[in-house]
């Protein structure tokens, strides 16, 4: 049994699942627009929380938040379920498939065997869509792949019941009602303001302030923790920035694409200009990643390298602070 479902590859898993589910319901929206309306751009540094043995850094809000914000902005109604009993979770999924409802699932990445080893970590907030069942295999649309895959019942249960931080607990969701004609004007303006406020928030670990805190920490890591640990923390910082699903440069390019689309929609030349600026900032994030990767390639472990990286991050924070102040005034 295969539902009528159009799989489209996307950069980010959460947006990709949303876009695919909504498109399927006849509500056309692009990935950058979904990302922008969900105020997906973010930065947070949680030095006290260790993920994979390194301090946690995230370039996005908590999983699920982007979709919820966007759904709220547009008046989309979404049904969500979690199950303490895996058998019930599967039963609900089967029921949905029978009723012709492609269903979004939140799953853990580690046991997804179709990913290369380099991507398999205990990250429990990946999004996939199930769109059919053939014999004993569920047909899966994983938004970051350009083809569809399939998983057995057992494999699917394993990823749906991955444990640890953000354990999905069989979380499934699907849109039940989409608006017919929506005017995006207000939604866009509100979402942009939200992103600006987040990035300029007067909280030391959030937004540009969080970036400055990381920039300072890079120097401290080297002195306090030694070269090996400092490098490892740096690896994780850059890995999060360029991880599959970010579209590169810590989501900056997706956001630039959103600003362009928003500029066209609102007929706002200033937004179009700012979109170009955001893309340049994205390029600078990529430069930062290149610089960081040199630490391992050349094995140059002088303090100087960390100083350079720290300075670059400071510069990025300054650029983004100026950028988001401008953006706030542009809408």
């Amino acid at each position: 049994m295969q539902l009528d479902f159009n799989h489209q590859q996307s950069a980010h898993c959460e947006n990709g699942a949303i876009v695919n589910l909504l498109n399927n319901k006849g509500f056309k929206i692009t990935e950058p627009m979904a990302f922008g309306l969900g105020s997906g751009l973010f930065f947070v540094y949680l030095p006290f929380l260790k993920v994979n043995h390194a301090p946690a850094v995230s370039y996005r809000p908590l999983p699920g938040v982007i979709f919820n914000r966007m759904a709220k902005q547009l008046g989309i109604k979404v049904k969500r379920f979690k199950f303490s009993n895996p058998a019930k979770a599967q039963q609900k999924l089967d029921e949905n498939l029978k009723n012709n409802i492609p269903t979004g699932l939140v799953v853990g990445v580690y046991h997804l065997n179709y990913f290369p080893d380099e991507y398999r970590f205990h990250f429990n907030a990946h999004n996939i869509v199930v769109f059919g069942k053939e014999e004993n295999r569920y047909l899966i649309s994983d938004p970051v792949l350009d083809y569809t895959v399939s998983l057995t019942k057992e494999e699917l249960e394993k990823v749906r019941y991955a444990k640890g931080a953000l354990a999905p607990k069989g979380h499934l969701y699907y849109p039940i009602a989409v608006p017919q004609n929506t005017d995006l004007t207000n939604a866009i303006k509100k979402a942009i303001k939200k992103t600006c406020n987040d990035m300029l928030a007067p909280v030391p670990i959030v937004g540009v302030k969080g970036m400055r805190m990381v920039a300072k920490a890079i120097l401290k890591w080297h002195k306090k923790l030694g070269v090996a640990k400092a490098n490892y923390n740096l690896v994780n910082l850059v890995r999060m920035q360029e991880e599959i699903g970010t579209g590169g440069g810590g989501f900056r390019f997706i956001y630039a694409a959103f600003l362009q689309e928003a500029g066209e929609y609102l007929n706002n030349a200033q937004l179009m200009q700012l979109s170009k600026e955001m893309a340049l900032i994205g390029d600078k994030w990529r430069d930062f990643a290149v610089e960081a990767s040199r630490v391992y390639k050349k094995r140059s472990n002088t303090e100087n390298v960390y100083q350079v990286l720290s300075n670059r991050l400071m510069e990025l924070a300054d650029l983004e602070e100026a950028f988001f102040k401008k953006l706030k005034k542009a809408v």
């Binding site: 950069a11 290369p116 931080a165 360029e242 579209g247 390019f253 630039a256 990529r286 391992y296």
Partner: protein, 133 residues
Amino acid sequence: MKKNEVPQDDSPLKKHKSNELVYAVDDDGKFVSVQSSGWEPKTIIQNQNLEVLNQRVQEALNDVTSGKISPIVYYMELNRMDWQTLAAYMEQWTFFVKRHAKPSVFNKLSTRKLQKYADIFGISIDELRNFKG
């Protein structure tokens, strides 16, 4: 990033006959999504990350062989878990799971508990009891 600047380097994804989507501007300055087979700096970072994780596995292996810790630590590292994740899978407090790292405590674990560990790690109970590396 321009469309023609989107990196098409060798990468773990490419080896997997896969790719990822990135956003770049085309000649008219319009953003489009482009498939990228990989980016060298990213691959370097990922390899570096795996290298560190492999070191951790190796260290754990040495410590198990020399009798300093129990095989649970080795399999935990092998499965890229930390104590919190393992404790979540065991449905126990981290404190108790950490104690099982002591060989003296580990040797007294019940078969049921060992079986639970073995299931989580996808191995047989024998591999835990008679650890060979």
